[in-house]
């Protein structure tokens, strides 16, 4: 079953077409990567999925809902990022964007936002329901903290955590919303080989243990080839190839996009 389906997605910034007629399908329970040179439009595509941008053309469907559709469709729909999160998509960022003046636990608690039911008036009178909800949320947050291996660091300000821990905290925050689909934007950027290996294992673990579908943008080819079940390659906003890791490694257009025409001819 497809969890995410994008057809003909186009996003323009002035004269620049960042994403151009991009088709994409993501079956439930898979780990799929999008790769491509810098500026190919990968992160822009992420921003279209999460509703941060309204798209100019095409349709993005998630879990049976149209979440973003362009002006060429009969009813252009643009759901806000918070609405899309409520449907079950969570993401991390290429350059870590934690709430730096909040503690690690608080970051995770914010991530749990969509599962809170109580009204703010209940917070003032401290109703029993609200207290139960808070206690349960805190318990879950601590479980998540331990799950990503940050036990004992929960009361540290997010900005005081070491780099690798910040990356993992960002994933924990995304997981806190209990998403069906997790978008990871370069999760191993800036990590040493050891940390990268650990992160790769962790991502696989996420899918196997929690059954979350994962869409990955990644530059580290070792990671991509190791864990992806399928790879889409983007260049200049368009999809130039799609297939299993071994197919992509042999694809001449991909080599050309990465290394240039001359190198591709030699290869």
């Amino acid at each position: 079953m497809l969890i995410l389906k994008a057809t003909g997605v186009t996003k323009q910034f002035g004269g620049l077409i960042a994403v151009n007629q991009f088709d994409f399908e993501l079956p439930e329970g898979k780990i799929i990567s999008i790769i491509g040179p810098n500026g190919a439009g990968k992160t822009t595509f992420f921003n279209c999925i999460t509703g941060f941008y309204a798209i100019d053309g095409g349709i993005i469907e998630f879990d049976g809902h149209i979440i973003n559709s362009g002006e060429d469709t009969s009813h252009p729909i643009h759901r806000r990022p918070d609405q899309i999160t409520h449907l079950g998509i969570a993401r991390t960022y290429q350059n870590i964007r934690l709430f730096s003046n909040m503690t690690a636990i608080e970051n995770i608690l914010v991530g749990q936002h969509r599962h809170f039911k109580t009204h703010w008036v209940e917070a003032i009178v401290r109703s029993k329901r609200m207290l139960q909800e808070e206690a349960k949320a805190l318990e879950e947050a601590i479980t998540l903290l331990n799950f990503v291996g940050l036990q004992g660091l929960g009361d540290q300000l997010a900005s005081n955590l070491p780099y690798g821990a910040q990356r993992r905290l960002e994933i924990a925050r995304a997981l806190a919303s209990k998403p069906k689909l997790l978008l990871l934007d370069e999760p191993t950027a800036g990590m040493n080989p050891n940390e990268t290996r650990e992160m790769t294992r962790f991502i696989q673990h996420l899918r196997d243990e929690l059954g979350i579908t994962i869409l990955l943008i990644e530059h580290d080819m070792k990671v991509v080839m190791n864990i992806s079940e399928s790879i889409s390659v983007m260049d200049f906003g368009m999809k130039i190839a799609e297939g299993t890791p071994s197919e992509i490694q042999r694809n001449s257009r991909v080599i050309e996009a990465y290394l240039g025409r001359g190198a591709a001819a030699q290869a």
């Binding site: 999460t50 941060f52 806000r80 990022p81 918070d82 999160t85 409520h86 969570a90 993401r91 960022y93 964007r97 709430f99 730096s100 003046n101 909040m102 503690t103 690690a104 636990i105 608080e106 608690l109 914010v110 991530g111 936002h113 969509r114 809170f116 109580t118 703010w120 917070a123 003032i124 401290r126 609200m130 808070e134 805190l138 318990e139 947050a141 601590i142 903290l145 004992g152 929960g154 009361d155 540290q156 300000l157 005081n160 925050r173 919303s177």
Partner: protein, 562 residues
């Protein structure tokens, strides 16, 4: 901070010249002479002296702090250089002022100032005394840093106690006299200021207090390592709370009517500060037009209850009108919130600034004059009454304000620790990411604006009925800036910080009325000092420890909050 660039002679000269520049400036604008009127210790030391020597003492101490690791003679030498260089421009000023008539250019360099600077001696002797005192003070201040920390703290504490009690001696005198009679006050005071003997007593007492509190602190820390500190400190905390409650309840009796009036003003600013703290401190929305809600609350109260020509005459009392004031301000908060939802940072600040001005100009306008009185304002607003008793005394109004402040504090604290509080803080940290976490920015922002406006409207309503008349000029931009500044000075996002900020920025100037013309100067200096030395505020908000709380048995290092 790092000892890698140790100060050189050049630094000492630079600091000295800077210090001299500050002092000659303060002298030339007449500040020192004005402060000279307030005696700290009778016949010996005035606030003018205090400020005259603040710069060399401060700079010498700062430089000593950077030099500390090096030789003693160098530390003391630098102190002396700073002192001497501070005295130099002042001495030149003295000579110039006696030789030429420079008052036609610098009005404030009066013979009185020269007398102050030369200690009533002849020009040459006086200059030498000034030089000597500066050099000695510079050295003493530098030497202070060479003392062990415990002694240093004791010395600073003693001096600070003398300075504070000297500054407020007149008030202290009044209060003590009304409680204990003349017999006691004659022992302590000469005229309106402390007598030297008692000043020494305070100095010693302050030092001893510091000594014992340090010892208690050390003991507590040692115990904290061994046993669970929370169990031990719990009863102490409860006792502290009870004491605080009793003091708050008895405050009008302790303070007398003038000081209670000051406290009421502080209270109104605390109320506004708590509201703006939600908007700026929690939610990170920079609102420069906050006074608008205060004005709306005040005008609604005025129109509904006024017994004058503008009153509606529908029989509203303070209590029945209060909900309408708060409601009107809240609605205004939401109305302002809606158009600015998409704005951030500087843009938001400019728009809200405009909104504040619009409200003030509307209040002044001829168009609305038939309804709200234009520049003549709304008059004859009755004071609140409580079961038939008119609350006319400041001591009676105090309890209304106290109740409102406590309510606002309570709501702020509860909201801060709830999901909504976290939504606000997440929005303050990163709006886009907050939205991606599923937070509805529209409702979250509007709730912040509405809550903030409600507190401000409440303050405005009390303000109207406290003054019994309101005029548009009470609602100018300066009020918004005051409230914002007191939040910054206290510590953004911190509830106790709001109280501390109000006491410093609203309470203190009331007590130092005679320096009113230099109020903004002190304000500016304080804000610059804060931003440089303590940007997190006097009482920064604490980091909530949640994981630690959930697992009491787990042992881990605490978060450093400084």
């Amino acid at each position: 901070m790092t000892p890698t660039n140790t100060p050189t002679l050049k630094d000492a000269v630079r600091y000295g010249l800077l210090s001299g520049l500050i002092e000659i400036n303060l002298s030339a604008i007449g500040f020192i002479l004005l402060l000279h009127q307030r005696e700290l210790v009778a016949g010996a030391f005035t606030m003018g002296h205090l400020f005259l020597f603040t710069a060399p003492i401060g700079f010498a101490y700062l430089l000593a702090k950077k030099t500390a690791a090096h030789s003693r003679s160098r530390v003391l030498g630098y102190g002396a250089i700073i002192g001497a260089l501070t005295a130099l421009p002042l001495i030149i000023l003295v000579f110039l002022a006696t030789a030429f008539d420079i008052r036609q250019f610098l009005l404030n360099i009066s013979p009185d100032l020269i007398t102050l600077l030369t200690f009533g001696q002849s020009v040459v002797t006086g200059s030498l005394i000034l030089l000597a005192i500066n050099v000695v003070l510079g050295m003493l201040s530098a030497a202070l840093y060479l003392l062990p920390p415990q002694w240093r703290k004791m010395a600073v504490s003693g001096l600070a106690w003398v300075a504070i009690s000297g500054t407020f001696s007149e008030i202290l005198l009044g209060r003590l006299r009304s409680f204990f009679g003349r017999g006691l006050t004659d022992l302590i005071f000469t005229g309106k200021s402390l007598n030297p003997g008692f000043a020494v007593f305070i100095l010693v007492a302050g030092a001893l207090y510091s000594y014992f509190s340090q010892r208690r602190h050390a003991r507590k820390e040692a115990e904290g390592d061994r046993s669970d500190a929370t169990v031990l400190s719990l009863p102490i905390e409860t006792i502290n709370k009870i004491i605080l409650g009793v003091v708050l309840l008895l405050l009008p009796v302790l303070l007398g009517s003038y000081l209670t009036e000051v406290t009421n003003n502080v209270g109104l600013y605390v109320l506004m500060g708590l509201g703006l703290n939600i908007v700026v401190g929690f939610a990170g929305l920079l609102d420069l037009g906050y006074v608008a809600f205060f004005a709306i609350g005040a005008y609604v109260m005025g129109i509904l209850t006024s017994e004058g020509a503008l009153g509606l005459g529908m029989g509203f009392t303070f209590w029945t009108a209060l909900p309408f004031s708060v409601l009107a301000a809240t609605l205004a908060g939401i109305l302002l919130g809606m158009p600015v939802l998409r704005m951030r940072g500087d843009y938001l600040a400019i728009v809200t600034l405009g909104f504040g001005e619009i409200i003030r100009i509307l209040a002044l306008s001829d168009m609305l004059k038939p309804f709200i009185g234009g520049a003549q304002g709304v008059l004859q607003i009755p004071k609140p009454s409580f079961f038939g008793i008119d609350l006319i005394q400041p001591g009676q109004l105090y309890y209304i304000i106290l109740a409102c402040v406590l309510l606002a504090w309570f709501i702020s604290a509860r909201l801060r620790d709830s999901r909504l509080g976290r939504q606000w803080m997440a929005m303050r940290e990163d709006e886009d990411v907050a939205e991606a976490m599923g937070i509805n920015l529209v409702s979250t922002k509007l709730l912040a604006f509405a809550t903030g406006a409600a507190f401000s409207g409440l303050a405005g309503a009390i303000f109207a009925s406290k003054l019994t008349s309101i005029f548009p000029h009470s609602f100018n931009l300066l009020v918004s800036i005051n409230v914002l500044s007191l939040i910054i000075v206290g510590g953004i996002g911190s509830l106790p910080g709001v109280v501390v900020g109000s006491l410093i920025l609203v309470g203190l100037p009331e007590l130092l009325r005679e320096f009113a013309e230099h109020r903004l100067l002190m304000y500016g200096a304080l804000l610059i000092f804060m931003m440089l030395a303590r940007p997190e505020g006097f009482w920064p908000s604490e980091v909530t420890k949640r994981e630690l709380h959930a697992f009491e048995e787990q042992h881990q290092p605490g978060t450093s909050s400084d």
